[in-house]
Symmetry: none
Subunit: 221 residues, 4 copies
DNA sequence: AATGAATGAGGATTCATTCAT
DNA sequence: TATGAATGAATCCTCATTCAT
C-alpha cells in the first residue's frame, strides 16, 4: 500500500477509509457487522492503520455520519439557492428537499444506530462538537428555507428539517432496515402495508408543508 | 421458584418474563444492556428457564414489542370508539392519538433497535407472523379512523398510523436516545435545537391532519 | 468437565484453577506468558469459566499470591510454635525461617511482578484488602519471633520478616529469573558470581540475626 | 534533526537517546509505559531512528541499566578511594555505600523488571556481555571494599555488593512500586508496615556489616 | 542518517446458548 | 420444569518492527 505522506494524501486516505466504511456498512447495515476487521479488509489496509486515522471505531462511524450530513445540507442549499425565476411554493421546496433522497437512505441507515454508537466510547467533547456542527448547518439551511417560503414562521425552517430528518429515520426503519424485513414485505398479505420510502417521504413532506401553509392562513383570517 | 404446570400458568409465567424484560429495558434502554443474564435476574428465574419460553433472545424482544403494539392499538381503538356526541375534527382525532403517548415512548425505545434485532437470529416465520399481526391491527384501526374523519381517503387511515409510528421512532431518536445525547443537549448553544418529544409529536400530527384536510379541500374545489 | 455445584465443589474448583495457574506460571514465570488462554488450557476449562471464579486476570494472580503467603506464614508459625526444649538462638530461628524455602522461590517469582500487576485492573479495595491481610499476618508472626528471640526489640520481628521478604525478591531476581539468565550464569567467567539462592539467603539471614544481636549487646554494654 | 555523521556524533546521539529513555522511564516507571513510541517522542526522534542505534526495545533497556550500573560503581569506587585519614569501620563503609542512594532508586526501578525484559527478545550474546560487564565491576569494587574492611574474607566484598543490590531491588518493590501501592500504604492500618526505602536500606546495611564483623570475631576467638 | 506510515500478531473479556442434574 | 455452571466464538485495540522515501 502506497504511503500517505503529505497531509493532502493523508486527507485522501482518511476519505478512502470512510468510503470503504460506507460501502461495507451499506452491504450489511448493522453496527454489529461493522467491525474494524471487516473495515480494514474493505479498505485494503492493515487493522492498525485504521487507528492512525481514527482513535476508535465509533470515531470512524461519527466521521461517516458527519460527512453524509454535510453532503446532504450542501445539496439542499444548492437547490434552494438556484433561481429558475418562478415563485417558491411548498411544492417546489418539497421537490428540492426530495431531490437529495439518495443521501436520505444512506443517512437513515446510519442514523438508526447513531444513538447506540454515541453512547459508547465516544468522548463527550467529540459528540458535542458533532451535534453542534449538525445543528449549525440545520439552522443556516433552515433560514434559507424560510426566505424561500414566507408562510414559514421564524424557526420553522430548521424545525422542518429536523422533522424531515425524523421522518427519514422512522420511515427507513419501517421500509427496509434489513434483508429479513425485505423478504417479509414480499408477502402478498402485506401488500397494502408496503412502504415506498421515497414516495411516502415525498407525500408526507407535501402534506406537512400544505398543513403549515393552511395553519398560517387559518391564523391570518 | 414455583413450577408452572398448567398451560395457563405457563402463559402467566411468559407474561411475567416479558414484564420483567420491559422493566429492565426501560431502566437501561440499550440493547447492549439487554442481556439474557440481566433478564433472568430481573425475572427472578434461572437463565436456562428463559429458554423454555423463548427460543432466542431476539424472540423475547419481538414478543415484547408485539405486546406493546397491542396495548397501543387497544388504547387508540378505545379512544376512537368513544362517542361524546361532538363532531370528529382532525384536532379531536389528534388528541386521541396523542393520548397514548406513554406507549409511544416505550415503543419508540424498542422500535429504534427493532431492525437491528430482527436482522439477526430471528426465524423468518416468526418475523413474518409478527409483521402480519401488526399490519392487520394497523388496518383495522386505520379503518376506524377513516370512519371518524371523512376527509381521509381509503387507506389513508392506516397510512397515517404508519407515519405516526415513523415519526415516533424518528423523533425519539432525536430526543433522548442516550444519556450522552441528553447531556449534550444541555449545551446552551443547542437550546433552539432541543426536541420536546411530546410537544413536537403533537404539533406534527396536527399539521399533518391539517395538511390532509387541506389537500382534500383543494381537490374538492 | 464435571460441574461444580455445591459451594464446597466450587471452592475446590477455584483451588484447582489456582493450582493450574501456579503450575503454568512456574513453567514460564513471566506475567506476559500468564495468559487467560493458557490458564484455561492448563486448568482444562473453557476461557469463560475462569471468569465465573475470578473477575479479572489480575484477581487470579492476587489470589495466587495470597494463598502462597498464607502457606508461608503457616509454616513459619508452626516452626516457631514447636518446642524441642532447647534454647532459641538466632541460628535456630534462622533455620526455622529457612525451612520454608520452597515457598520462598515460588513467592519470589510471583512477587517480582506483583507491583506491575496491581498497578493495572485491580480495584483499589481488593488491593488494599490483600495488603492488609498480608501485613496482619506479618505482625502476628513477627510477635511470635520476638517472643522466641529476646534480643529483638519490639517491632523488629515484623521488620525482619519484611526484610527477609525483600531479600527473597532481590536474590531471586539475581538468581534465576529466566532461562536466559540461567544459561548465562553457566559461563565459566561468571562462576564466582553465581548466586545459590538457598545458601545465600541462609547466610544473609544468619548474618542479619547475628548483627541484630551484636547491636543489642553493644547497646547493653 | 541534525544528522550524526562522525562516530563521535553517533555515540553522543546514542547517549542522548538513553538520557531521554531514562527521563521517560522515571516519569512513568512501568515497563508497559516504556514504549518505543514514547521513547522516540521523548528523544525528539523518529521511531525508525531508534532502530539505527538499538536493535530492539530490550536492547535500549539493557543499555540503560548498564549505564546506571557503571555510574553506581564509579561513585562507590570514588568514595572508597577517598582517604580522610581516619580508620575504616563498618559504619564508614556503609556511609559510602549509602551515599549513592540516588542511583539506587533509579536502578531499583529498572532492575525490578530486568528479569522479565531479558527473558524476551534479547540475543544471548548481548545478555551475556551485559552480565559479564556488571560482574567484573562488582569484583573490582568488592576487592576495594575488602582492602578497606579487613574483617571481610576474600570474596565477601563482591558478595556484599550483590546482597546490597538484592536488598535494593527487594526493598524497592515493597516501598513504592506503583501509584496504587503508594495509595494503599497511606491507609492508617498499615502505618507500621510502611517501608522507608533509604532508612531501611541503611539500617540493613549497618546490621549486615555488624553481623559480618561479629562473625569474624566469633571465629577469631 | 532520518522518518513515520503501515502492519498484524496477540490477548482480555463478554454473553448467548447448552445440558447435566 | 427449573437451574446455573460451562462453553468458546467473537471483537477492539496496542505496539514493536519494517521499509519506502
Amino acid at each position: 500500500m502506497q504511503r500517505a505522506r503529505s497531509s493532502e494524501e493523508k486527507r485522501e486516505r482518511r476519505g478512502a477509509i470512510l468510503d470503504a466504511a460506507l460501502a461495507a456498512y451499506e452491504a450489511d447495515p448493522s453496527f454489529a457487522a461493522f467491525t474494524m476487521d471487516a473495515l480494514a479488509r474493505a479498505a485494503g489496509l492493515g487493522k492498525g492503520t485504521l487507528y492512525l486515522y481514527f482513535r476508535t471505531k465509533e470515531e470512524v462511524f461519527l466521521a461517516l455520519v458527519d460527512a453524509r450530513f454535510g453532503a446532504w445540507f450542501d445539496e439542499i442549499d444548492a437547490g434552494l439557492d438556484e433561481d429558475g425565476g418562478g415563485a417558491w411554493t411548498g411544492g417546489r421546496a418539497a421537490a428540492v428537499l426530495m431531490r437529495s433522497t439518495r443521501w436520505h437512505t444512506t443517512l437513515a441507515r446510519l442514523l438508526s444506530i447513531l444513538g447506540t454508537v454515541v453512547e459508547h466510547n465516544v468522548p463527550f467533547e467529540t459528540a458535542l462538537a458533532f451535534k453542534r456542527g449538525v445543528m449549525a448547518r440545520a439552522h443556516a439551511t433552515g433560514e434559507r428555507l424560510e426566505r424561500r417560503l414566507p408562510f414559514l414562521r421564524p424557526g420553522q425552517g430548521a424545525r422542518l428539517l429536523v422533522w424531515l430528518h425524523a421522518m427519514v429515520i422512522g420511515l427507513w426503519q419501517l421500509h427496509e432496515p434489513s434483508a429479513t424485513i425485505r423478504r417479509i414485505m414480499q408477502d402478498p398479505a402485506l401488500e397494502g402495508a408496503r412502504v415506498d420510502f421515497g414516495r411516502d417521504l415525498g407525500t408526507l413532506l407535501r402534506i406537512m408543508l400544505r398543513g403549515m401553509q393552511a395553519e398560517a392562513e387559518d391564523e391570518a383570517s
